[in-house]
Subunit: 323 residues, 2 copies
């Protein structure tokens, strides 16, 4: 188990240790390409398909690193968390693999597909209102009642070290890229990406992509301090949460730039990816391609790793279909 | 170029030659697994994802083998074909890679996504009515007018040798399976599978999966001779065409059994695959999983290669959504 208390103490050795620990429980997901999307963007895009994890999201990396790093004594009490969805189901999945209890607080507005998955993996859900304040209050009650180990969805060095394994695989699978781009919500994936890329490929640019309607990370990055919104609304339901100190450390020190996209641009990029890459992915995962299409001069002629973060989507409610 | 005139003369050397010829133009598609679908079926399923070819279907293998096997003199006149969709767009794609003309006859009822792709790749479409008789009459006119080399969608040894490369990769990627199952329409993929598997893994069973509403191959297999329907109707739009002598050769000599599934069973299997494997695939590609779910005793405890044949689907018209 990591005994760091702050993300600033994380080293690349923590990423390697996490990778060794979680390899039996995660997939080395494929990197996919589309000539059509390359022609359209003028870039060479390498899509790292974390939607193909069994639990459907990269978050199983960080969750598994936390769960399998616990001592037997700590593990016996189980784990608990709050999450807009994919961390909830990934922690439930990892806890299920270890055979320990998992309690999660989820907004009642979370996609049904994500709630169903939590229950399928054996997690117990307590619902809250879709705001940061309600989520934190409800969680305090659940944690006090269960006594489980809190695994924060992103503000946790164990989680960040786990997410960092994704871009280590991407760099190996592509023999290196000029830039990596990933969605940013609380900043767990971007922080892990920064940990790995700044150490293993320091010349590679690191971009974060965020919905215009939940652009707190963008505004934080420009202001130089954390700005948090209480209840943003966007179709990219995985990106509603604000930065915290451990992810702000990486965002402020290592991110090259943050780009934003509108709801329509996100939906268009999602549909393009379903159509031409033929993968099922969430709206949140479409934000990077939306920003690549919006900022062609930044990416044209470059080799770009694009992290598809998750594929847990309600197939009954596709955003380009009315009704 | 193959100089065989009959599929009965094809040897495993023709498959290897095809693989060497087409490797620059196709992808070695990934084999994907889902713990959830394994639990559901009691089998160990290995999905060979041909929907991830750039043109979205395995048919680019056979089409590329035919196109790149032509002499320069023959190639100059271009190629032509008739197809319910994926062969049309795959031949257009391969012809475009070689820079030669491609004329295709397609039923006017073919999915818009497939017509759009043909045009995107530079093919020219002539529409016909959705029946075998109309298709063949329209094609005779197009071929006489253009003088292009006819590349039949499946009744062509060059095409069968190309399709055969798919299961060669599957066998390598899985270190062998107990059974392979693929959809059957005209029988090109199944024939290629028979060529490869009967030579390289003779103990592996070969199953074909067909819609109940277009079950001519099933009835042919049971009767011992080709039975053809003129205009079957099924959501599995890639499987409307009848067997011909070159594919009947393989079906009658090497297929272990043929299973059928109803429209509802196909739609359910399609949705399951989108949800748990998180890939975009066509209704035709869902027929194998539908028949595995319907015949659990045949597959339980077995390692089963499942060929996902294509992913060109109208995202506006998903069959589990009304309207």
């Amino acid at each position: 188990m990591l005994d760091h208390t702050s993300a600033a103490d994380l080293t690349i050795a923590d990423m390697h240790a996490a990778h060794d620990r979680i390899k039996p429980y995660i997939r080395r997901t494929p990197v996919m390409v589309s000539d059509y999307l390359n022609d359209m963007t003028g870039a060479q895009l390498f899509f790292k398909c974390e939607n193909f994890q069994e639990a459907g999201a990269f978050k199983v990396r960080g969750a598994s690193n936390a769960v399998f790093g616990l001592s037997d004594e700590m593990a016996a009490k189980g784990v608990c968390t709050h999450s807009s969805g994919n961390h909830a189901l990934s922690l439930s999945y990892a806890a299920g693999r270890r055979g320990i209890p998992c309690n999660v607080v989820m907004p009642r507005t979370a996609p049904q597909a994500k709630k169903d998955a939590v229950r399928r993996y054996g997690g117990t859900i307590t619902e809250c209102d879709p705001s940061t304040s309600s989520r934190e209050a409800t969680f305090a009650e659940v944690q006090a009642r269960t006594g489980g180990e809190f695994v924060h969805p992103y503000n946790d060095p164990r989680v960040i070290a786990g997410q960092a394994t994704c871009s280590a695989e991407l760099l190996e699978q592509t023999d290196g890229v000029d830039a990596v781009i990933a969605p940013i919500g609380g900043g767990g994936m971007i922080s892990g990406t920064c940990l790995t890329v700044s150490n293993l490929a320091p010349d590679t640019a690191i971009y974060a992509a965020e919905p215009e309607q939940a652009d707190d990370a963008y505004r934080s990055f420009k202001a130089g301090h954390i700005i948090a919104d209480d209840a943003p609304k966007t179709i990219a339901d995985g990106l509603l949460v604000p930065l915290k100190e451990n992810t702000w450390h990486f965002v402020s020190n290592h991110v090259t730039d943050i780009f934003t996209a509108s709801e329509d641009e996100i939906i268009e990029a999602m549909k393009l990816t379903w159509k031409y890459l033929r993968v099922v992915m969430e709206p949140s995962s479409a934000v990077p391609l939306a920003t690549i299409l919006k900022n062609p001069k930044v990416f044209r002629g470059k080799r770009v790793g694009v992290i598809i973060t998750g594929g847990n989507v309600d197939l009954e409610k596709l955003p380009w279909l009315k009704g």
